[in-house]
């Protein structure tokens, strides 16, 4: 991929806006060493509440639930029925039985509908922290944890997978809303931050356990466990966009784009975040 445009624009803006030399902003590349928040983040990692959700997800997987009183143990996450380890680092991917590309959370809802008899559409309407949707988040946390330490390698063989990547790339740069933001506004240049939070560059592999390789994550600021669907939902909220549907094309396409870009990155999910 060519250099993302925001880098060029920022350089242009600096040149155009500069009457006298601007005080250089601290380079985030060097910030990691002197990061004043390093100690805080290290202490949080000593006990990540995501573990509570991971344990709940594991119980939910084997528990007989739903109108059909069935477990999810035959759910096919792309590695064959019931195979959980390694599934997370290959999602989103094409599913022949569904006839579409699905991310982890969409696939879990699919399994809950097909195996347990839940109404997927009803689940999709619920807020992320309520009812069966909260169970989807817990399940996603456990499934992700089962691939901890593995490296992302999304399939790009099926034309729909390639198409989703291309749609995701376009969605990533799509500017709109009252503030003209796109995903690239924050994640199109390496080494930048919002407030004190480092922003991963998501047009390429941002490194092990960074960006796509860190979610689901426990957000200490909200005391909530967020899957990638919730993460993207809140990105769009902050972008001042309208509301993205759960597992809508844009959200799955963006995950495909980020996941393919993250090829080779080691997953640390579920992580703990501010």
């Amino acid at each position: 991929m060519s250099h993302p445009i925001p880098a060029l624009l920022l350089a242009a803006a600096l040149a155009a806006g500069s009457v006298h030399a601007q005080t250089p902003a601290p380079a985030a590349a060097g910030a990691a060493k002197t990061d004043p928040l390093a100690e805080y983040r290290r202490l949080l990692e000593e006990g990540n509440p995501a573990e509570l959700f991971e344990a709940r997800g594991e119980r939910l997987w084997t528990q007989k639930r739903g109108p059909r009183s069935a477990s999810l143990e035959r759910c096919d996450l792309g590695q064959g029925p019931g195979v959980v380890k390694g599934a997370f680092v290959t999602l989103p991917r094409w599913f022949e039985d569904a006839g579409k590309v699905m991310d982890l959370e969409a696939r879990l809802v699919w399994c809950m509908e097909k195996l347990q008899g839940f109404d997927g559409a009803e689940i999709a309407k619920q807020p992320f922290d309520r009812g069966e949707m909260a169970n989807v988040v817990a399940l996603a946390t456990w499934v992700a944890a089962m691939s901890r330490g593995m490296r992302f390698d999304l399939p790009q063989k099926h034309p729909q997978e390639k198409l989703m990547y291309e749609v995701g790339k376009r969605a990533f740069f799509f500017r709109g809303g009252t503030h003209d933001f796109s995903c690239a506004s924050c994640h199109g240049v390496a080494g930048q931050r919002i407030r004190m939070q480092d922003l991963p560059l998501l047009t390429t592999n941002p490194g092990d356990g960074v960006g796509f390789a860190a979610w689901p994550a426990y957000r200490v600021s909200a005391g909530q466990m967020w899957g990638m669907q919730w993460r993207l939902n809140d990105c769009f909220r902050q972008q001042r966009f309208p509301y993205p549907g759960f597992a809508s094309d844009v959200t799955v396409a963006l995950s495909t784009y980020m996941g393919v870009n993250a090829k080779g990155a080691m997953s640390i999910a579920p992580a703990v975040k501010r």
């Binding site: 250099h3 445009i5 624009l9 920022l10 803006a13 155009a16 500069s18 006298h20 030399a21 601007q22 902003a25 985030a28 004043p36 569904a98 006839g99 579409k100 809802v109 699919w110 109404d119 997927g120 999709a124 034309p159 729909q160 390639k162 198409l163 291309e166 749609v167 376009r170 740069f173 799509f174 500017r175 709109g176 809303g177 009252t178 503030h179 003209d180 796109s182 690239a184 506004s185 199109g188 240049v189 080494g191 930048q192 931050r193 919002i194 407030r195 004190m196 922003l199 909220r237 001042r240 966009f241 309208p242 509301y243 549907g245 809508s248 094309d249 844009v250 959200t251 799955v252 396409a253």
Partner: protein, 215 residues
């Protein structure tokens, strides 16, 4: 109801390339992407789907390639025409109010109750260093610490002051006037902040007494 139609807004068929091994052309991909973007969002509170109907600049600045020179010129000229200059040439408000507005990242999301400017912040510290005291600042935009001081502003009027006031006002009202694909929101033009709030931000940046302009 099957999941195919129940979970996604678009039926799988609209994105499907049946039996097709290679990808469509780039322009066809653009069309498919636009369709799937429009189909993925719904109204929520004050955030309606008309927010993703792109204007010229939003569309032209939505890829990893810069728009052509003619488009850039057109966007900047159109933006310059939108600038609403402050009444009576009164550029500066209260830098203390400006600091408060610069600190706030609130407003205009679907969890906000109204689009009234009084509820909105400028999001400034999210991207810029501004006063030295606030260590929690972003780096997406250039540092604005000593913004006025670096530009030789020592008083509140005079011939050297005027062009800098005008340039800064333009940046805050509609930054596309000088930079077609600026990453900065059009705070005045989009009604995020009103004229008075922008005066306060102007004072934060330019008033010699502002914490921004202390050594």
């Amino acid at each position: 109801m099957t999941l195919r139609t129940s979970i996604t807004g678009l039926a799988a068929g609209s994105l499907l390339l049946a039996g097709c091994a290679s990808l469509p052309s780039s322009s066809e991909l653009d069309r498919i992407a636009a369709q799937s973007i429009q189909g993925s969002f719904r109204d929520q509170g004050i955030a309606k789907v008309d927010r993703i109907k792109q204007d010229l600049a939003q569309a032209a600045c939505s890829s990893d390639k810069a728009p052509d020179e003619a488009t850039v010129e057109r966007i900047q000229a159109e933006a310059r025409a939108t600038i609403k200059w402050p009444a009576n040439g009164w550029y500066l408000g209260d830098f203390r109010e400006g600091e408060r507005i610069a600190q706030s990242g609130r407003g205009m999301t679907w969890t906000d109750a109204s689009t009234a400017t009084s509820a909105n912040g400028g999001n400034c510290y999210n991207c810029h260093q501004i006063s030295k005291q606030e260590i929690s600042h972003g780096t997406i935009g250039p540092s604005l610490y000593n913004y006025g001081r670096n530009r030789g502003i020592t008083g509140l009027d005079g011939p050297t002051v005027q062009p800098i006031f005008e340039y800064t006002w333009m940046k805050l009202w509609n930054p596309r006037a000088t930079n077609a694909c600026s990453q900065m929101p059009r705070l005045g033009h989009m009604g995020v902040l009103d004229e008075n709030q922008i005066r306060h931000l102007m004072a934060l940046l330019l008033d010699p007494r502002s914490p921004v302009n202390q050594p």
